[in-house]
Symmetry: C2
Subunit: 179 residues, 2 copies
């Protein structure tokens, strides 16, 4: 039932070295935790980039942008930390840039094949880590913006002239009063 | 070939009202633009929340977190703007919170069924919009952090004592020198 690399290509839209890197990182981290996909929020992922590989992680781990269990830190690193709320264990997985054979990156297809087939210990490094358990995602009440009439999460409103405004309306009003 | 609602459940992990909302919003926006899934970056989505529905959008539009064509604005609103780089057309789609019949939300399954089957004009509003074309995602060079030895995107490095550091190493060094 786990998504195959082809299922992940279908989600991402194409195959590329980044997707293959994320595939190997995610498979290794899930195996380390002896976990499969997260139907709800059992797993949480902290990703240190927003490159192609994160799409493989979303498919394989079930830590998705829309479920709130995908936390983005904009560090530009091929590093994911996967945390299991049930076992309270965490694993940090790193792509081993430096172990890629010289010249391998020049042929894109050859590089993808290498990434998908090289031994796990060559492609990634894994380390058990202790982290503070991330807060679960919360569903907030929706209210209506008094200005545009559209629904907005109560925690994302501002008060303008004693009325609730969504952020885009509040900013528009602030800009027009500044003129 | 387009993902079905069941395919989207498989990606998200479960069905819920939020997922059904995102499904209807995404289907309507894609039909408005006469577009199907984005294999590369033909489509760009600007999403005004990070709720469950965005997972439906990722599956249906191919605007995914890992591909860089999913732009998040944290406004807490069920609003997506979908832009087509080919036709240069954009559409803004809004979930019509206020048209949900009274009492409907109390039964989760009934609410999902209603969301999936009510007429499009009841569930969502669509409007053609002009927006500035978002920049495409760029792939940056990877360098090695002089401190941890891990790969890091060149644009996410800092200089510490004349050497390149990744952000986590830079912050660790800054914290330890502050003590």
């Amino acid at each position: 039932m786990d998504p195959t690399y082809n299922d992940i290509i279908a989600f991402h839209g194409h195959s590329c070295p980044g997707l293959a890197i994320g595939y190997r990182m995610s498979k290794a981290a899930l195996a380390f935790l002896s976990e499969s996909r997260s139907a709800d929020e059992e797993l949480v992922a902290i990703v240190e980039n927003n490159a192609c590989g994160v799409d493989a992680l979303q498919c394989l781990s079930g830590c998705t942008f829309g479920k709130g269990n995908l936390i983005f830190k904009d560090y530009g690193k091929h590093v994911y930390t996967l945390y299991d709320r049930t076992s309270k264990r965490g694993v940090r997985v790193v792509f081993n840039d430096r172990y890629v054979p010289a010249g391998m990156r020049q042929d894109r297809e050859q590089f993808i094949t290498w990434l998908l087939s090289a031994p796990e210990g060559t492609v990634v490094s894994l380390k058990e880590v202790q982290i503070d358990e991330p807060e679960p995602a919360r569903i907030m009440k929706t209210v209506m913006c008094s200005f545009c009439g559209e629904g907005v999460m109560i925690t994302r409103t501002r008060e303008i002239h004693g009325k609730l405004a969504c952020i885009p309306c509040a900013e528009k009003i602030e800009r027009s009063s500044a003129v």
